[in-house]
């Protein structure tokens, strides 16, 4: 039968899963771009390092005979801490000295950092795909729908939703969030009213890296394997999503990610899976040509 409702729902949920992960990564892109107008090319690598750290912790703890739910929480916590630390250090080394330099320099530095981190993991670990143990337990109450939705997907949707709510709260209602918004509007003015701009930028990198790491751990245990290269393509796609939604806008990043996730999922499900990545890139080209400010972004004109 051509029109299969179960198949449609399956694709819809797969798209939602993808979209959620893209959203977790895209948030970091959008926040960093909002504050220092830099495409943090190495952001995908932070996501990959998060997944790898989780894998390593899991491996060690499994051998010590811990139970899987405890491992999940400890591995996720360690991965978050390390990703945040990497994000923080990355900014200090590669971007901070270039804050007053032309944007091209910072972008090249970011590409260099991405290349460096990828090869660092490749050399220190392995180039092979490593199986990632399924840490998320199967839920009993999900059994009737098991053929359509997996419990790891449910965990992904709900975690993403919680992260979104927390992040919105952080930005809208806390002092740090207020400082972030101020810095993104006008860095010098923010400095004049007594905001420690360097600290705000560091916090932004830490928050962005943490959400990326959450995405890394979740997708790794959902798909079940990782290697050093997963960060690059995921990073690019999350960037596409962030641009689609309007870079710099947080609800935009989420919306863009979901749209990209669904279109990719339906495209591969109904048309062809060979050109999946081509499709994402074409999507990007078309958005940038026809609506560079994205769905929710404001268009701004260049001023002298």
């Amino acid at each position: 039968m051509f029109w299969d409702f179960d198949y449609f729902v399956e694709l819809f949920l797969a798209g939602l899963t993808r979209g959620s992960i893209y959203a977790l990564i895209a948030l970091g892109y959008t926040m960093v771009y909002g504050i220092i107008q830099l495409i943090n090319f190495a952001h995908g690598e932070i996501y990959m390092i998060g997944a790898f750290t989780a894998l390593i912790v899991t491996g060690v703890l499994t051998l010590m005979g811990w139970n899987s739910v405890a491992i999940l929480f400890i591995a996720a916590a360690v991965a978050l801490i390390y990703s945040a630390a990497y994000g923080y250090t990355l900014e200090k080394i590669a971007y901070k000295p270039l804050r007053k330099a032309p944007r091209l320099s910072a972008l090249i530095s970011a590409i260099g950092m991405s290349l460096f981190l990828q090869n660092y993991v490749l050399l220190a670990q392995t180039s092979d795909f490593l199986p990632f143990p399924a840490l998320i337990p199967d839920f009993k109450w999900l059994e009737p729908w098991e053929h359509i939705v997996r419990s790891s997907q449910v965990v992904i949707f709900s975690t993403t939703a919680i992260v979104m709510v927390l992040l919105t709260f952080l930005i809208k209602f806390t002092r740090t969030g207020k400082a972030m918004r101020a810095v993104s509007q006008d860095k010098e003015m923010a400095m004049l009213v007594g905001i420690d701009v360097n600290r705000v930028i560091s916090v932004t990198f830490i928050v962005g890296s943490t959400t990326a790491a959450i995405g890394g751990v979740l997708i790794a245990s959902h798909i079940g394997q990782i290697n050093f290269y997963i960060g690059f393509i995921a990073g690019i796609k999350a960037f596409v999503a962030a641009v689609l939604g309007g870079i710099g806008s947080i609800p935009g990043a989420v919306l863009g990610s979901l749209v990209l996730g669904w279109t990719e999922s339906f495209f591969t499900g109904y048309i062809s899976s060979d050109y999946e990545d081509v499709f994402a890139f074409l999507f990007l080209v078309f958005i940038l040509i026809f609506r560079p400010s994205g769905i929710l972004g404001r268009s701004e004109s260049e001023k002298v």
Binding site: I49, V285, P292
Partner: protein, 404 residues
């Protein structure tokens, strides 16, 4: 200069890096066999390495800050770099040029075939570097999909030869033309984007070309590529492998000299100055009546032309091509050449290509660290010396007698 506070600072930094690299450097988990490998010795390397490296880092940062202050203070004083002094004096640079030419001419006869092959490779990269230099160095447009035009050139030759038996000499201009055509096709819609968006779109375009070549089996024979591409030849002369390698070598030398000549002339032409003006300030440039789209488009098309030509040569040299040679990392490789050598500077690009292509060949032991090194170079060059090793000589006009 090295006092207790500095040592303490470096010590803390090294502790931080030991912590940071702990899981990835020390532990290696094999999830298939459930085995864990602990490599404690790496911890020591990281600690000691980052301890000393942090000194160097801070020293370089301080020197850079000092340098920028000095140059602000002594704007009027003309400080000649080594490069400027050599290029400015005919008595030095003419003999130097002659020596380089003699060396280049003697190279394939003095060294082995293997060495000549490596040199041909380096020469192809010089050509690519000079081509991307037009786009990135002169016009200031970051192109991360440059390798796509290289692929277009290579596939133009391979496919025309496969289907129509077209020879190398006809394919060379056609590859260049196809490169330019694709440059215009891509450039036209995307060039109104700002710098960093442009970088991502060109990256996307590069990947699209590669993925299409990989998946469209009827057209490009997919991942298995095209083999048995003929080497270049002269009519009526049969060449064995060694002779044809030497022939390609000299062909490359001639083409590189041609490229240097053209790029050098372009740089000082009306359009070249428009590129540089556009790089410095787009808005001011438009206000002076320079057509932004047209100027950018010519830069893109001309850059792509060289890539197309280099692609034909690459196909002719290796006699086999497949999409795996044209990944995004190749683009970044070429970008790295320009960044290391000096954006906009011809001598710099040649230097960068020779260092980055020849060095990994001779330091085989380090070849797996090559990409790591490239990443490191990109970051450190941008932080400490954004102009590159041999930076471009800026054209300056001085009014004599103004300060006297």
């Amino acid at each position: 200069m090295i006092n207790l506070a500095e040592i303490k600072k470096s010590f803390l930094i090294s502790l931080w890096f030991v912590f940071l690299t702990f899981p990835i450097m020390v532990i290696r988990v094999n999830t298939i066999y459930d085995r864990v490998e602990w490599r404690w010795e790496n911890m020591l390397f990281v600690g000691v390495g980052s301890f000393f490296f942090s000194f160097i880092w801070r020293y370089l940062l301080r020197r850079k800050e000092l340098g920028s202050k000095n140059s602000q203070a002594e704007e009027t004083q003309d400080r000649m770099t080594l490069n400027q002094r050599i290029m400015g004096d005919r008595r030095i640079y003419l003999p130097l040029l002659a020596a380089i030419l003699v060396f280049a001419a003697a190279y394939p006869f003095v060294f082995s075939m293997y060495q000549t092959n490596i040199m041909i490779n380096a020469l192809i990269y010089i050509m690519l570097g000079l081509g991307i230099n037009i786009v990135v160095g002169l016009a200031g447009l970051l192109d991360l999909g440059y390798v796509a035009f290289y692929a277009v050139g290579a596939y133009t030759y391979a496919l025309l030869n496969y289907h129509f038996g077209l020879g190398f000499w006809l394919a060379l201009p056609m590859g260049a033309a196809m490169g330019a055509l694709f440059g215009i096709l891509l450039g036209y819609p995307v060039l109104r984007l700002r710098g960093d968006y442009l970088a991502i779109v060109t990256l996307g375009f590069g990947e699209i070309i590669r993925l299409v070549l990989e998946n469209w089996n009827q057209f490009s024979f997919g991942p298995s590529g095209i083999a048995n591409i003929p080497r270049p030849s002269l009519p009526g002369i049969k060449m064995n492998l060694e002779q044809s390698t030497i022939f390609i070598y000299f062909l490359m030398i001639v083409l590189v000299i041609f490229t240097i000549f053209v790029v050098n002339r372009l740089k000082d032409s009306r359009i070249g100055r428009a590129w540089i003006a556009l790089r410095e300030d787009e808005v001011a440039c438009q206000a002076m009546g320079i057509d932004r789209t047209k100027t950018k488009l010519t830069a893109f098309a001309l850059g792509a032309t060289w890539a197309g030509m280099a692609g034909v040569l690459f196909a002719a040299k290796t006699t086999f091509i497949n999409p795996a040679s044209f990944t995004i990392w190749e683009s970044i490789n070429i970008l790295c050449i320009v960044v290391l050598g000096g954006m906009g500077s011809i001598v710099g690009v040649i230097f960068g290509a020779l260092v980055l292509i020849l060095l990994p060949e001779y330091l085989r032991a380090f070849s797996e660290y090559r990409m790591l090194l490239f990443g490191f170079i990109l970051v450190t060059m941008m932080v400490f010396r954004p102009g590159g090793i041999i930076s471009e000589v800026r054209r300056t006009y001085k009014f004599k007698g103004l300060n006297e």
